[in-house]
Symmetry: C2
Subunit: 158 residues, 2 copies
Amino acid sequence: MDMEARGHSEHPEALRLWLRMLTLTQLVEKQVRTQLREQFDTTLPRFDLMAQLERKPDGLKMNELSRRMMVTGGNVTGITDQLVAEGLVERALVEGDRRAYRVRLTPRGRTQFGDMARQHESWIVAAFEGLAPGEVETLYQLLGKVKQHYNDTPLETA
Amino acid sequence: MDMEARGHSEHPEALRLWLRMLTLTQLVEKQVRTQLREQFDTTLPRFDLMAQLERKPDGLKMNELSRRMMVTGGNVTGITDQLVAEGLVERALVEGDRRAYRVRLTPRGRTQFGDMARQHESWIVAAFEGLAPGEVETLYQLLGKVKQHYNDTPLETA
DNA sequence: TATTGTTATACTCTATAACTATA
DNA sequence: TATAGTTATAGAGTATAACAATA
């Protein structure tokens, strides 16, 4: 076949889907980063960490944060240090394990995160307002299917 | 309404869609970066730059690369310098404008990019193989719709 | 010994702004 | 004056690895 001669063209659909998804994600992400910086003088990882804590009043351990944020432990330490210094989160003791902490939002952190989250949501809603509600749901379901399969098939290292 | 009292819950569908899309993109992107490093000792921006040049035998100017890669000019200079030093791309003169260059793949760069692109495509195909062909197309169309609207509605700065 | 978290370090990627050369 | 590209710099963001304290 001649198609194969071009080198990489047997599954161009998945590839162009990926490129579109990557571009769109970068576009939205870049805007979110800019606005977080301009309006709240913060960064996406800091916002992400606080978002992880929002629905966990008892907090999360460092390694739980590390796993959820998909970054290594040392980085979580650094981000947490910053937020602690600003009084937005705190390290609380874990009963029965003196090595670990529960990191949780302070009241001030909770208030400030609420402000940010409200704005953040409006940016995201604006980004996707080109879709009808049913299309949002379809997109959500399809991406869930991809993620599901991706998680079930760990790193085949091609 | 009580729903609104939670602070940010009027359009949670768009928000959870975004979070899923962001997570999935980061997952795939992280894997691609790791494999590019391990198998080809290169990075995603370098791969991206070469990919931009692949279908342009005459090359692209620096500012065109900058726009397509969505990064500022100084960064393109740095990445290009690396690739030139390795003999993978070259700066060619532009007739009639001695300020500008056309950056293009060398024969060696073209060969090497072919190898990388083949592998890259296999990783991407594997990432999306949980979808039926029709679903890939649906996803592609829906993301196109989002992107279209997003581009038409530049930075409302909420 | 293994685990939790911290520290130290280095590298990639990025933006900003000042700069040079040419248009 | 404006544009193409470079240089210099600073700061996110990340991973790796060695380390201390506790389990």
